[in-house]
């Protein structure tokens, strides 16, 4: 069977990201008998329930007990199985953080985590269900691979790919109603290898998750309105980060902005900033995300607009950064 999607794009377009995940996992379950599933009273909403219905003997609902669930997953992995664990991102990366780190990452176990409701995608639920810290937390755990798929199609690719990647993998998805930015799964998805979604020479947008599609739209509008050539990179793997594509962007576009549904501290923006700083080259750089606060309440679209994570917000930020006289400003005498 081909990598990634195993059904036609029409299906993927009519399914939400989590539904795609549920379906892919259920199919993988048929191919790999060592896959087991776990959830914590959220089997239905995370869609790992599709797997549970198909393989009831290989699924464990831990009840509302996330710490125990991740400990159980570690035990199952030690017994030679490959657990896929699904609950909301906030309960995965904070409630059960130490189980994930000490039981799973420290022992480098083959546990695959699909965390839903990442970022502020469950906007109405408020801070207890938002998760704008997870990328930072997961990135800091040694052995962990961190993936933020841009849409359902990429999510399918990531779920399939994580099976052959040894060790723990964290896949962060949204609430599941996000529109697709890919029209086909055959674009050569590879963990750790970012995808250039749009070519450009004036500035590079580095995005992950829901911001990828918005950046693609912004790039199109900027081309039409301003004649600006904006490169868009889908950095679906935050760890290991594709540093080459960033170094290339520094040299070729000299300006980089990151966009993510995450606190500006610690996530994609920080990961990219590390590469920029260590490159030793001058590069105009800005990060956009949730500005170190607990997000307002509201429907996600309203919130993304408020925090400048939609196409309009991205356009405005691009114009701001391009408007700054960066390349001429090479005299360092002005101090700060």
């Amino acid at each position: 069977m081909a990598e990634g999607l195993t059904w036609n794009v029409y299906d993927a377009n009519t399914m939400t990201q989590v539904e795609v995940y549920g379906e892919v996992l259920a199919r993988l379950g048929a191919e790999h008998e060592n896959i087991v599933g776990l959830s914590a009273d959220l089997a239905k909403s995370t869609k790992i329930g599709v797997f549970a219905d198909r393989f009831p003997g290989r699924f464990f609902n831990a009840g509302i007990a996330e710490q125990n669930m991740f400990g159980m997953a570690a035990g199952l992995a030690k017994a030679g199985l490959m657990p896929f664990v699904s609950t909301m991102a906030v309960f995965t990366t904070m409630r059960a953080a130490e189980q994930v780190r000490t039981d799973i990452c420290y022992q480098n176990l083959d546990v695959k985590i699909i965390a839903t409701h990442g970022g502020i995608s469950f906007g109405q639920a408020g801070t207890t269900h938002h998760c704008t810290e997870d990328i930072a937390i997961m990135r800091a755990m040694a052995n962990m691979t961190v993936i933020v798929p841009a849409d359902g199609i990429e999510c399918a690719n990531a779920v399939r790919a994580c099976i052959s990647r040894p060790g723990p993998v964290y896949i962060r998805i949204g609430r599941g109603f996000e529109p697709n930015c890919y029209t086909s799964g055959d674009y050569g998805f590879e963990i750790g290898k970012a995808v250039e979604m749009n070519p450009g020479t004036d500035l590079t947008l580095v995005c992950c998750g829901i911001t990828v599609l918005q950046a693609m739209e912004a790039a199109k509008m900027l081309k039409e309105a301003d004649g600006t050539s904006v490169r868009v990179i889908n950095m679906h793997t935050i760890k290991p980060l594709d540093a080459d594509i960033i170094r290339k962007a520094i040299v070729e576009t000299r300006r980089i902005i990151t966009f993510e549904d995450h606190n500006v501290y610690g996530g994609l923006g920080s990961a990219v900033a590390e590469v920029v700083a260590e490159s030793g080259r001058a590069c105009a750089f800005a990060r956009v995300g949730i500005p170190d606060c607990y997000s307002l309440v509201g429907y996600p679209e309203d919130l993304y607009c408020h925090y400048g994570l939609d196409a309009d917000g991205i356009m405005a930020k691009v114009r701001e950064v391009l408007g700054k006289d960066f390349e001429q400003d090479e005299s360092w005498e002005d101090g700060f």
Binding site: D41, K44, G63, G126, T127, H129, L303
Partner: protein
């Protein structure tokens, strides 16, 4: 003192209003945790209209009783109760869940007057309640702390860590309720993660257990008054309830853990609520 007939009638009226408010907000908000909000109505109405020492005009009064709704997803049943009790304007709830509203599904104590503690992540409330209760004791103050837990919530180990601490420190100024509606998200509690023998568990953690019909004011009131007089150990009131209580098509139907209503279903729900005699 047993409740008078008049008191019970008044409470029934308040409960009816609260149930109507819950389905209204479910409609306005485009969906809510309706089932678990409806199951706790009698507990919450009785506490807010009879037992809690509170003053909505002076919401921060230092000697007020504290209430932690540990099953924070039932905010759709808590916010209208606070509004009707006089903490803020009920009209604000028309924006429940909407952009910039102070009211999200899980109430934020930093934004909503009358909410002592922000909840929504299950299994946190009882620990904070133990802290409040011990705090009152350290300060030599006589206010009480009440905590309302979901039954599914009691899967969380932290609930039992808190229970252990409450009895270890003899927190008798803490009164805990379990809204025992027998359902969680993925199904019936006993199917997803069995809790039984549930009252035995609480007893073995050092609690005095009062098991009552959670929709009966008489039974709840007797249990609360006994709990207030208890000096030997913390009390948990195991309130047997029905998830979705008052709207028959929601009752004991797991799909109503979180549901939405269109205008026809809303009207139907209100008629059913008006017809029901609960309490």
């Amino acid at each position: 003192m047993p409740l008078t007939g008049q008191e019970i009638n008044e409470l029934k009226g308040r409960a009816k209003q609260l149930r109507r408010d819950i389905v209204d907000i479910t409609f306005w908000a485009g969906g809510a945790h309706t089932g678990g909000a409806l199951s706790m109505v009698e507990i919450m109405v009785l506490l807010y209209y009879k037992y809690l020492n509170i003053d909505p005009k002076n919401p921060q009064k230092p000697d007020r009783d504290r209430l932690i709704l540990s099953k924070g997803h039932a905010g759709v049943g808590f916010a209208p109760l606070l509004a009707r009790r006089g903490y803020f304007d009920f009209e604000l709830l028309k924006d429940f869940n909407k952009f910039k509203s102070p009211f999200g599904m899980h109430l934020d104590g930093t934004k909503v007057t009358g909410v002592d503690v922000s909840t929504g992540s299950l299994g946190h409330g009882l620990s904070m309640a133990v802290g409040l209760a011990l705090g009152a004791r350290v300060k030599g103050e006589s206010w009480r702390t009440y905590c309302v837990l979901g039954d599914g919530e009691c899967n969380e180990g932290s609930v039992w860590e808190a229970a252990m601490a409450a009895s270890h420190y003899g927190a008798t100024n803490l009164i805990t309720f379990v809204d025992r509606n027998r359902f969680m998200v993925d199904g019936p509690t006993e199917k997803v993660m069995g809790l039984e023998p549930f009252t035995d568990k609480w007893r073995s953690f050092g609690f005095v257990v009062k098991e009552v019909d959670g929709h009966s004011y008489a039974a709840l009131s007797a249990a609360i008054e006994e709990a207030q007089g208890e000096t030997g150990a913390p009390v948990v009131i195991m309130a047997n309830t029905v998830k979705g209580k008052g709207v028959p098509f929601m009752e004991n139907d797991v799909r109503w853990h979180y549901g939405g209503l269109d205008s026809d279903r809303l009207a139907e729900s209100k008629q059913l609520i008006d017809r029901a005699d609960i309490g």
